[in-house]
Amino acid sequence: MNETILKFEDVYYAYEGDEGETLPNAVDGVSFEINKGEFVAILGHNGSGKSTVAKLTNAMLVPQKGKIFVKEYDTSVEDNELKIRTTVGIVMQNPDNQIVATIVEEDVAFGPENLGVPQKELRTRVDNALKLVGMYEYKDYEPHKLSGGQKQRIAIAGVIAMQTECIVFDEPTAMLDPKGRKEVLAAIHDLRQKGYTIVLITHFMEEAVDADKIIVMNDGKIILTGTPKEVFTQSDLLYECDLAVPQVTLLSKAIKNNGINMPDDILTTDEFINAFTANIKQKRKL
């Protein structure tokens, strides 16, 4: 069951500056493992190296030091490229810049077309992918007539149609309005239920609340790894990395500091309401 799908082994990566000088490491000695079927969130503020991690996962960038394995394939071996990219797909931030074709279904077909999938199978793959993200009715639309959330779901369908097992989302909601964000997050959670391995790179803490594992990055290094409860209770450390803990967590912490007994690991509104009402009821009994 615990098959590793993505493995970083002490990875270093530095970009080259405009004049050929080497910039400080964008990814600085990162190691982690992601198992099949896991939902992992990578958190970090802008410039923490999290987008570079995304580009490293499917051999778009190759580490200068250290190794990355997608399943058993080493990303630094050029012959593995196709295998790697059909295992790990990336959904980027800007929905406009990743749609290639002028018709929705043609765009979804773009990946499998490149792989040379026969026409009949292509049709079923495209239809299934569109149904999975709830965009089947829009298959004949032109992408520019869709909303941001819809475009992003098309991009997701494009990755699904390639039958990748793992999808890396690089800040998929950063450019969307609240409605679009909700749609995309719902689609991501659907995929999680269907057994896809999901890596969600984001700086919105709320999106990471129900992840199996959270990796927090700062200045190219991993500073924290753990379950959401383990990570969010370290609010001081997160604050140092310019990351905001969910507001309910901060609120319950403030209440606790005022002498009222509240648990440390409250992440959602529901948990807060439960703990708080329990508190009040207890007080009344006294």
Binding site: L82, N97, A101, T102, E106, G116, Q119, H144, A155
Partner: protein, 271 residues
């Protein structure tokens, strides 16, 4: 402002013409264009006008829209017709005053010119009205695929066309955004002399260019992520198959060609 451009618009009405194979549509339109210039008398011209109107009717695209498209070239038609009217001195003289001489030859060529240009525009715009841009580029790619043998990168060219088409609406939107942003900063785009207005466009085009490059990098990244490696070994979602509709269209065209040739042989040409 830029949104008003209607050239190459597509009106999905699902008509007979829409369902034709785009490849045969391209070939047939080329045939008609040649035919329009090959006919030399009023019988042939009558046949072509009838057919053109028939196509317009079959396309189910509203007449209003189609003739609105013609409106923009009315000036060109009038201009060419008048030139023909005054400068052609073949045939009998109908009217003569001062230095101007109007002859039957002039009148005929003028009428011919006007009708020909109208038909030309109608037939070719019907192609874009009834075929989506994607299908059109797709069809062009397939029609030109023999050129691959002499190392013309047909697939790459078609891909470039598709991407260009895809990004036209995105870039138009972007221009709108940048214009509003610059207006909010106090730029005046509609006042001043011509040079001032041209200069006011610089702060619009510089960010547009920079953003386009960023988009291009992003898109290249996305395409590579999805295993794009040129045209070799690609399959296609859409299959193009000739059907009975194409057979009918080709039959009609053949009849038209034979008709025009016969009219040209048996009747005196008037131009």
């Amino acid at each position: 402002m830029i949104r008003d451009i209607t050239i190459g618009q597509y009106f999905p009405t699902g008509s007979f013409l829409h369902k034709l194979d785009p490849r045969s549509k391209i070939i047939l339109v080329l045939c008609y264009l040649v035919l329009i210039f090959a006919c030399r008398n009023f019988f042939g011209l009558g046949l072509i006008v009838t057919l053109t109107l028939l196509f317009v009717a079959v396309s189910k695209v509203s007449f209003k829209l189609i003739f609105k498209g013609l409106k923009s070239i009315v000036l060109i038609i009038i201009f060419t017709s008048l030139l023909q009217l005054f400068y052609n001195d073949k045939g009998d003289i109908l009217l003569e005053f001062w230095k101007i001489k109007i002859t039957t030859g002039g009148v005929f060529t003028a009428i011919f010119m006007a009708v020909r240009i109208c038909c030309l525009i109608l037939v070719s715009s019907l192609l874009t009205y009834t075929t989506s841009p994607t299908l059109l580029t797709d069809a062009i790619e397939r029609l030109l695929s023999p050129l691959n043998k002499i190392h013309v990168p047909v697939h790459t060219l078609a891909m470039m066309m598709t991407i260009a088409l895809r990004f036209i609406p995105t870039l138009i939107e972007e221009i709108d955004h940048i214009m509003s942003a610059q207006k909010a900063r106090g730029a005046s785009l509609d006042t001043g002399s011509l040079t001032e207005r041209a200069k006011a466009l610089i702060p619009i085009f510089v960010p547009l260019f920079i953003n386009s490059f960023r988009r291009a990098f992003d898109l290249a990244f996305a395409m590579e992520c999805r295993c794009y490696h040129g045209g070799a070994g690609r399959t296609r979602l859409r299959v193009m198959k000739l059907g009975y509709r194409d057979a009918i269209a080709f039959a009609v065209t053949t009849i038209a060609i034979v008709g025009v040739i016969l009219f040209n042989i048996f009747f005196k040409s008037v131009i």
